[in-house]
């Protein structure tokens, strides 16, 4: 997505999958393993703000949005 791409070293390897669970719209963000730290940031600062932005998007149904950063573990 446009939010993270400019923040990483390998923008081509960013990809997002969408999955629906009973309660959430889950977006799974995966990047080049070297970029995971960049997306999360010191003490999760970057991840925190990205999440704040993603959650601010209004979704039509009752489900909530969840952003999962795939850290390869």
């Amino acid at each position: 997505m446009t939010i993270v791409k400019p923040l990483v070293k390998f923008p081509d390897e960013v990809n997002i999958r969408h999955r629906e669970s009973p309660e959430f719209h889950e977006f799974i963000l995966s990047t080049n393993p070297k970029d995971v730290g960049r997306v999360i940031g010191k003490h999760g600062r970057v991840a925190q703000t990205v999440r704040a932005l993603v959650y601010s998007v209004h979704v039509q149904d009752d489900k909530r949005v969840k952003l999962i950063i795939n850290d390869g573990k």
Partner: protein
């Protein structure tokens, strides 16, 4: 040669460039005077720059005597060595800030907010972005969450592009100014409460800039002190009796 003035160096250059309708790249800028804050508003000096087209030769320019408005001693301006390096750094930052604006625009589009951005860079350490949009409520978010997140995101973006220690403010429809007024009301009210009750009061969590405002406003009360507790998105100021 035309001279241009401004409160800061960047503002002076900006003034000159718009007046001459020149691009930064083909302008040659000579700093005549660094801005000086003066003393209690006295002896204040605006920044002064001289701008000419790049193509023109600048042989005599270096030897040009400088005129000072208040007759105080001029700072000797060496043409090249002093001016070149900060200028390139500034140029680079300027370019990145422009990229930042497009980036922010894209992010806003993704959030479904159409906005026109106005970017100003009054000093090399401070960027101010004003978003004009009909959906300011959406842009600000509950308790300003979205706008603060955007602001932080801008800082990350700059850090990732080699621009460090630059402060970014994202604003819309005077949101920050309105917040400042609300905050000082809040500060006055809490100060009175604490003085009356003698009990420390925890304020709601707020971003760093707003906490700073609270700290500095409480400073005038001799019998009160402030400190912050918690970690960043939930860091809050406590006003306590001394």
């Amino acid at each position: 040669m035309p001279k241009y003035k401004g409160d800061t160096l960047a503002a002076a250059i900006e003034n000159g460039l718009t007046a001459l309708q020149l691009d930064r790249k083909n302008a040659q800028i000579k700093i005549l005077q660094q801005p000086q804050p003066g003393f209690w508003g006295l002896f204040k000096k605006p920044a002064q720059v001289e701008i000419k087209r790049q193509a023109v030769s600048n042989a005599q320019q270096a030897t040009l005597p400088e005129q000072q408005p208040e007759g105080e001693a001029a700072q000797p301006v060496t043409q090249r060595p002093a001016a070149t390096r900060p200028q390139t750094r500034f140029d680079k930052n300027y370019a990145v800030v422009h990229d930042l604006a497009t980036y922010l625009q894209n992010v806003l589009d993704q959030l479904g907010i159409t906005a026109t951005l106005k970017v100003a860079m009054p000093t090399s350490k401070y960027v101010y972005i004003d978003c004009q949009t009909d959906k300011e409520g959406l842009l600000i978010g509950k308790h300003g969450r979205t706008i603060n997140a955007l602001q932080q995101l801008c800082e990350f973006y700059l850090n990732n592009h080699g621009v460090n220690y630059v402060e970014v403010t994202v604003d819309t429809a005077d949101y920050r100014a309105r917040r400042r007024v609300i905050l000082s009301d809040l500060v006055r009210k809490t100060a009175r409460d604490v003085q009356m009750s003698g009990q420390p009061v925890h304020l709601d969590a707020m971003p760093a800039a707003e906490r700073k405002q609270v700290h500095s406003e409480i400073e005038v009360y001799d019998d009160l002190m402030t400190y912050s507790i918690g970690n960043d998105p939930n860091r809050e100021v406590v006003v306590a009796p001394r």
